[in-house]
Assembly symmetry: C2
């Protein structure tokens, strides 16, 4: 897995087709090509606004222990998301969904990122950062000025390292609960 770590560390400075910084309009980005893993070649790529297999997504969410949600309602949520970002691991022409994020937006000013998930077997390799980088890039390309999210305490530092600021100018994220 060390190769990936190096890859993502160096990706900002890299040249060639894998240079994320050079991509302005993107639908699918190859992150790692011909990764050698147990003598087999594998690719990892991010796909934006691609068709989502809801059962693959459920399996991914199960893997990180999220509470199950009605699959029909998940479909509605995805259909009404401004952006979905899927991360795939591809080997022997078979692909596995290993990461996901989605965004709600008014398509003009504001966007909110929800449901960011990386499969436990693929965490800690910079793939979450790559997924968020592409998501932010897409939103900036769509001229969305305010990109927001609600971060659990254990991922605040992760998002801070990506350029997110908690409570800027004292603005508080608030959730409604019945009184």
């Amino acid at each position: 897995m060390a190769f990936w770590k190096n890859f993502f560390k160096n990706t900002q400075a890299a040249n060639g087709p894998n240079n994320l910084a050079s991509i302005t309009s993107i639908n699918s980005v190859l992150l790692v090509e011909h990764l050698e893993n147990k003598d087999q070649l594998a690719n990892i790529y991010i796909s934006l606004n691609d068709k989502i297999d809801l059962y693959d997504l459920e399996k991914l969410c199960d893997a990180v222990g999220w509470v199950r949600r009605p699959i029909k309602k998940v479909k509605v949520a995805i259909d009404h998301s401004f952006l979905t970002a899927s991360l795939f691991y591809e080997k022997n022409q078979q692909q596995q969904l290993i990461g996901f994020a989605r965004v709600t937006s008014d398509c003009a000013f504001n966007a909110t990122i929800w449901d960011v998930v990386i499969h436990p077997n693929f965490q800690g390799q910079g793939l979450g950062k790559a997924l968020m980088d592409q998501t932010i890039r897409y939103l900036r390309h769509a001229d969305i000025s305010t990109i927001t999210l609600f971060a659990d305490p254990n991922v605040v530092t992760f998002y801070r390292n990506l350029g997110f600021v908690a409570d800027p100018d004292g603005v508080k994220g608030m959730f409604w609960y019945p009184l």
Copy 2:
């Protein structure tokens, strides 16, 4: 203005057509009927997902000193909002937009409230609370479980009184800024 204050204080317990608590599916709610104001009768009502006059909205936002936004982009944002809530003051068959809020959502799980504004001449009378009450009621009726917003420091208490909680379980509202 004291009449309104009393009206909104008592509205939860009131009976009859003005009883907000009894309304489950709503598009337009009369808040104050036949308000006597300088010997003229006036009504105040909230209208949900009604057609928005963008220039009236701009005038309202100017009145509270918000930075102007391109009107075409405002139209896109409104067209892609899940809900708009407008507050009107009606006198002599003329209506004035005196309050506004809008919501983005995935139509299933999450909603975020944006651009809450009450005209300065009508603030402090419970109209903001009434606007938010109707917004929350609509979202609950649509079976949206997570209702969120980002509150400026000076309105955190206002939202807290409506049942919003800041940073529940340490969840932080975060905004992205370029690194």
